[in-house]
Each structure stands twice: as C-alpha cells, then as structure tokens.
Symmetry: C2
C-alpha cells in the first residue's frame, strides 16, 4: 500500500518533494503536509499547495479552510495567499511549558545568562539540523537574531558539534550532509571534522569561533538523560570581541557546570 494512487497525468510533474505522507489518515496527512509546505515556503496560494500535494484545488482549499478555522493558518488578506498562523504559537507555548527538558533547564539557563552576561540557547537534534528549543537573552543589548524553532547547520556551530558527538558512526553519516562553507574558519573536511568531534567527546565541550559567522563565538556542552545519551546541548554565544580566548576558559567552566546540573536533574548519574 506504499504508493498513493496518482491517476491523474495532467501534465504537471507529480513530485512528492518531501514529507512523511502516505502513513495514517489520508486527509489529516495532507493537511499536515500543507503545514509543512507553508513552513518551508513561508507563504503559498491554494493552487500552489494543491500541486505540491498532488491533489485537486478544491481539496486543498477545504483542508486549508479547516486549518484556518483552528487558526493554524491565516490568509494574508481576503482572497489572498496563506501562511502559518497564531494557533501554532499557542500550541508551541503549551509544548515548551510541558517538555521536562525545557522545564528543568530554564532556571539554570537563566542563571548562566546572568553569570556570563551572554545569550544562552538549548538545542536538540532534529532531522539533520539543530532545533533551538529555548533561548535566554543575555544582559547585553546586542543580541543574536536567532529564535526558538530555527534550523541551524550542525557542523559550523558549537551546539551542532556537541549533538553530533553523541551519535554513533551510522547515525552520524546519515545526519551529516555535505559540509557547507560559511566563513574561512568553517570546518569543511570530513576527516578533519571527525577529529574535531573526537576532541569534543574527549573534552566534554565544543567551541566555534567565527565558523558560522565572522564575529560570532559560541561554546556548548552536552546535556545527558538518565541513560547517558546526549539529548540536548546548552550553549553560550556572543560577539567574539566580548568572548576573547582568555575569557573562554571561565565561560566554558560555567557552561559545562550548568549542562551537568541539568543532566543530573534529568536523572543522569543517579541510580
């Protein structure tokens, strides 16, 4: 039952593009597919969505109208295109409020932000990129433009390195695409990157200076669950001029300590 009956050869190339699809309740599947398309494109019309899903225009419309009734999507104007709506944010608020990872990590992250004066982030691995779960602003006015929910490349960030360091060889290969170059300091050699990961594993922390963006420095340490797996990563990041070499040692000590504290609260080292 793998292939969906695509009987219409209207001429349009039937490209399932990307998504799970094909598993579960058909109409719900399609509706969620719409959300994913909108997340990717930012904004789409009914016709566009219909082509993307390989369904009739009217079908796409009915689905999107249902989503709209629940405020998960909204249209830019009457008779306009569609985009993701506020309902998503409401759900997201309820999600983070309940995730015990965020729950446990938040007070510690806040203290870390106060101690270092820089921005603290918590990220998890999600489909070959880093998903930022939470962010606590530093005391300085100069803040990074990241935001919860953003996708960040794994090989050019301290968080990414930490998260990858917890994977075995097979999973690593799957998660690691090609290593894009962002700055002259980005590590792009595969062998070289594996060495870096070994170093991270050994040291228990990761550093990235100017690797994603010139002038941006970040350090990160792993958060482990009761089984000892790396489930998340906690980082401190800020402008490189505020995080010079001689200050990094101090910051590293704080980050590693904070991450270990969260790990303990999640049950690591108990039993």
């Amino acid at each position: 039952m793998a292939d969906v009956a695509d009987l219409q050869d209207e001429g349009e190339k039937v490209a399932p593009s990307s998504a799970v699809m094909g598993a579960g309740v058909q109409s719900v599947d399609r509706a969620l597919g719409i959300l994913e398309v909108l997340a990717r494109t930012g904004e789409s019309g009914v016709t566009e969505l219909a082509v993307e899903l390989g369904v009739h225009k009217s079908t796409a419309f009915r689905l999107v109208a249902t989503l709209e009734a629940h405020r998960l999507v909204e249209q830019t104007s009457d008779r306009g295109r569609y985009r993701l709506g506020m309902g998503i944010l409401r759900l997201a608020g309820a999600t983070t409020a309940r995730l015990d990872l965020v729950q446990e990590a938040r007070p510690i992250a806040r203290q870390l932000a106060v101690d270092t004066g820089e921005t603290v982030n918590i990220a998890v691995l999600s489909e070959s990129s880093a998903l930022y779960l939470d962010q606590v602003a530093g005391t300085s006015a100069l803040q990074p433009h990241n935001w919860v929910g953003q996708h960040i490349p794994l090989h050019a960030t301290s968080n990414g390195k930490v998260l990858l360091s917890g994977l075995d060889e097979a999973a690593l290969d799957a998660a690691l695409g090609k290593l894009a170059t962002y700055t002259p300091h980005t590590i792009t050699g595969r062998a070289e990157f594996r060495e870096e990961l070994a170093r991270v594993r050994e040291q228990g922390y990761a550093v990235a200076v100017d690797e994603l963006e010139i002038g941006l420095t970040a350090v990160a340490a792993p958060i482990r669950n009761a089984h000892g797996d790396v489930v998340a990563s906690m980082s401190v990041s800020g402008p490189s001029f505020r995080l010079p070499e001689d200050r990094l040692d101090e910051v590293l000590r704080l980050v590693v300590g904070a991450a270990r504290e969260v790990s303990h609260r999640l049950g690591w080292g108990h039993r």
Copy 2:
C-alpha cells in the same frame, strides 16, 4: 469573512467541551481538536482523547498515530500516553520568522528595550486572553518570568487594556469574563473598567501599576494594521520602584512612539 460555522445545527451527541469543531473536513477537524486537548491537558491517553472528542477509541488512535508520524505529538513511552511533540516547535519557528508583525516589531522593540532599560513585550488577542508573541529582555538582570506563548488575564495588564480598547461592545462582552482580583489595585467593577477602557482609547495608551502583581508596573500602546484596527499591543514592564510616576511620562512617550512606528511599518496611515 463569511463564517463557515453555521451550516448545520449540531447533531453532536456529547458536548465536545470546547474548541472550534464542526467546520471543515471532519477528520482534520478532529485531529486538530486532539492537538488542542493536548495543549490544554499537557498529556492524555487515547481513550481519554476519544471521549473528549466524542469518537471511537480506534478513530482517536488512528488520528493520533497520523499526528505522531508528522512529529506533532509523541508518546511518553511505548504504549504510553501522548503529548505535543517537537514538530510543533519547528512549525512555530517558521511562523515567527514569517509573521510580519514580529518581523517588523522586533528591531523597534529591541531599541525600546535599550532606551528604557526594561523588558518589552508584544502581545495579541487570542480567545479572551493575551498571547505574548515576542519578548525582548531589558538591560537589568531582574526579569519577569513570562514567556512567549503564555496566557495573561486581560483586565489586569496594560497590554490587555490596550487590546480590549480596540474591540466593539459585542466583542468586548464576549471576551470579558469575570474580573478576577489579583491585588487590591485590580479593577474589578465592570462599569469602572469600561471607563478605564474609554480613557485608554482617548489617551492612546494604558497603564497598570500593581494591578496584576504588587510591585509590577507596565505601560502599553496599541499597534495598528493598515485598516486602523488594533492588532497587537507593545508594552514596557518592570519593577514599580524602577518606574516611578515621574519617569512614566518619559517611558510612555517612548512606548507610544515605538508602537506608532511599528504601525506605520504595517501600513497604518499609508494608502
């Protein structure tokens, strides 16, 4: 703005407690209903969800399984209960990145935070409570515990007053439940509160000193869209001792100016 709602007079057997429901594609409607229930309860079992929606267990299971395939829900353990998942957060990231309100407001909010030294929030009206969309921390270490996605009572906050001031009588009645008392300064009289709203409308800003919490002061101004409707509210809040009467004038000037600037960027006053 045709309402899709009233085509049929509810043949439902059991009261679906709360939610939109009854409009659009049935199975999608139910699936989204599940998300809303999970957002409310935090965690539920299949059977529980089934009775909540008034459907058969197996139906609820199939729906929740589809949601799980898209990572919008996850189960606490194999054969365990269900809760909202990371997929929601991914969608939320894509949402905030594209919502032009947040997009436009963020740099201005940040500047306002720098100028005042206090925390800036942006909130919208969402089902008879305030939904906080964005937050920029002030320069001081002492920060409020709020977070994006939280629901806050409308009648005891400056943001809430501003948002309510944009409604007509009918909508106001619908949005306003009973006026709970939080502190001795909370306005609880209905007539009194309407006078306060009239003042807010006239002045173009709202103030709340010790009304939600003793020691917490906040001021807010409306953000308008191209049609002139109040779509959001921007506030500055901090400890009352840092925001004494004689400083409020200055802060108010800044807030009103910032909110007006955002409104302009959203097309207000243009043509």
